[in-house]
């Protein structure tokens, strides 16, 4: 266990020493929030059910951060550890794969959570955002979304042999997802066809889930999202377990 916490702490330090990922999770979303907040303000908008742009953007951008951590940060970090032989070196010690992967998942989760925390803080301080939900329910949905997306990331890390490929595939999956799911551009302003198509994008369900709970709905109204994300979690975790390689 001591090894696990040490490794987690080391990974947190490394996260900030190569700050590209920290930029995407901790700096970019708040910048987007300020940018669109300054353009549209946070006046109640009937298109968003009486909420303002910033009100709906905070949960949407949280989904964006989950996606960035899961599809870029996690697989690229693991692929680079495999490429450099770091995983092989760990393998020659008594630490288990669960320790190595677990530490990485904890760090990615904490950073994603911190990213959402920053958005909430900024929203509260600058735009006095409305929050009508139950914080615990939102956190639980956030955690489920993280887990299922991280499982996708682990699977990618397992099947993609190099950092190059991990970043190409990660980006190819990421961009359509973040633009079509409502994580960056509100889906309400998209054509109906796109809205229908976006139902096939897992991230759409994270956005719907988080925004719904934000407005004060509860989990029982979002069983579809919960089931889809749970299924993604189970399937990808099992596949990732099979695909994992030390070298």
């Amino acid at each position: 266990m001591r090894g696990f916490w040490k490794l987690t702490w080391v990974e947190i330090k490394l996260y900030f020493r190569i700050p590209i990922m920290a930029f995407f999770t901790l700096a970019l979303p708040p910048m987007l929030l300020l940018l669109f907040g300054s353009i549209f303000g946070n006046v109640p908008n009937p298109a968003y059910g009486g909420y303002g742009t910033v009100d709906v953007s905070v949960p949407a951008y949280s989904a964006l951060i989950i996606c960035l951590s899961a599809l870029l940060s996690l697989p690229i970090t693991l692929a680079s550890y495999r490429e450099r032989g770091t995983l092989r070196r760990y393998r020659a010690t008594p630490v288990s794969p669960a320790t190595v992967l677990g530490a990485q998942l904890v760090v990615q989760f904490l950073m994603t959570l911190a990213g959402m925390g920053l958005l909430v803080l900024l929203g509260k301080l600058v735009y006095h955002i409305r929050f009508d939900g139950n914080a615990w329910e939102v956190l639980a949905a956030f955690a489920l979304s993280c887990l299922s997306f991280f499982a996708v990331g682990l699977l990618l890390a397992g099947i993609l042999p190099s950092v190059r490929l991990a970043s190409i595939v990660g980006n190819v999956l990421l961009y359509p997802m973040i633009y079509l799911s409502g994580a960056t551009i509100p889906s309400q302003i998209m054509p109906e066809g796109v809205q229908k198509f976006s139902q096939f994008i897992p991230l759409t369900h994270v956005v719907t889930f988080l925004q719904g709970l934000w407005r004060g709905e509860n989990w029982s109204q979002h069983t579809t999202e919960a089931i889809i994300l749970s299924a993604l979690l189970v399937v990808c975790s099992l596949a990732a377990l099979k695909a994992f390689r030390w070298e």
Binding site: G3, K6, L7, L14, R17, G85, A92, T93, P94
Partner: protein
Amino acid sequence: MPQVIQVSHLRKVYGKTIAVDDLSLEVNEGEIFGMVGPNGAGKTTTIECVEGLRCPDSGEVRVLDLDPQKQEHSLRLLIGTQLQQTQLPERLKVGEAFDLFASFYPNPDDWMVLLKRLGLQEKKDTFISRLSGGQQQRLSIGLALVNKPKLVFFDELTTGVDPQARHAIWDLVREIQAEGRTVFMTTHLMEEAEKLCDRVAIVDHGNVVAMGSPASLVRKLAPESRVVFTPVKAFDLQVLKKINSVSHVDQDGQKVIVYGRSIAISQPPLISEVVNLLSTQGVTYEDIRMEQPTLEDVFLLLTGRAMRD
């Protein structure tokens, strides 16, 4: 002397390539044992099967009375490992790496002392990526020692390291042995094997082709000494054949190379016989020297001179 490693009839195949075929060796407690061989001879595959990092296709491996496959975790606690071409995250600091690796073991060594011994104490807060090749290798040796192992594995320890750093690393390996640990290493540097190892196994095509102390291998397999000199004027080289122990004579540009055996202690050394003959023949020469056969001669004799890879 008790044996710490026993490998018998080890075989490992990758696709169609037979990496290791029917390889057997034993390593005794307290010795520095080296595997030498050309690239692709199967050294790394063998050492990794012994470390439990690879699963042999057949054959038996016992390390410290454990099965590296079935008792991997117990083995990890007892051995130290330096792997070829593995790198830790480049933004990790030296001290952090030691602290991290120490946390993986229940009863680690005081890594600050280790750091000092390796001459890395001033590098404690340096990023690993900023270390020189020699410092990186010392770091990897240090990390292999952090659990106070009885048995240490070094795979191509001094590859890419300059001569000064190489000698420092050799001293370190000798110290590790003096502390009562056993060292199992691979190298493709014959000089390294000859200077460092108590016993070597010469490996080629996945098989041990010769095993023993470097001196005994040289005595047994490459007993010919050479006398090399540059005659001032050309002369008939056939006269050198008059010496009984001379086997043949070669010419390399201006240089003359006389090959011969002088095994018996009663026999005068080859060089004095050559000098005597040349003076009776009135041949003048410069730069005369005798070259003893080395492990490299044995190695080339056994593995041939053809280019590999």
